[in-house]
Symmetry: C2
Subunit: 123 residues, 2 copies
Amino acid sequence: MDNLPMKKTLQEYVDAFNANDLEHLMSLFSDEASVEDPVGSPPKTGRIEIEAFYRESMTGAKLELLVSPRGSYSNAATITFAVHTEKKGHSIRIDVTDVMTFDSAGKIATMHAYWGPDDMQQL
Amino acid sequence: MDNLPMKKTLQEYVDAFNANDLEHLMSLFSDEASVEDPVGSPPKTGRIEIEAFYRESMTGAKLELLVSPRGSYSNAATITFAVHTEKKGHSIRIDVTDVMTFDSAGKIATMHAYWGPDDMQQL
């Protein structure tokens, strides 16, 4: 799969998230997508569950890309970023790597977000 | 799975690679491990294939960790780095994210290296 469209979609994902543009963000996903965020938690599957997840996680949060997206020789690509958000009045940073796979239409089919308990810090 | 031992192993992986210490590097892997580097290529499976792969890829190459390793709420963790190497007298940089899973003994069970054609650049 060509890497440039995957990377373009990942940049759109970050931009739509930061613009709080849920409609644009959801347009990047396949109807049958699944989102496991964090890896090890029950996946959100399908448009309704995924939209509910992003509506909640977008609130007041911003993504800061830390390095360039990585592609592959397959239908997968990654982004590595920090989430800046707030919890009970405290600034929180979560360090994350997302691995996304894409369907033949270029939509996100699966998303796995790698972050664990000690990747979240209160600043 | 506790994140700290996984992250410690990933740091050892980088240090052993950079020290050209193939024996130490191989001690981090399970006997039944598989390595898909890059993602989309045929996996190397088992100690003999994996050792041959690292003996070749270590030569003259150094890994530069770019951000902190990420853990998960499962048996997976990631590192994001640049490979600095040479090819036919030219300096090469490859931007990579590795996703590793670990067995119950804390050894690397699977490794997936995400990098595509345009993540390799001649400097």
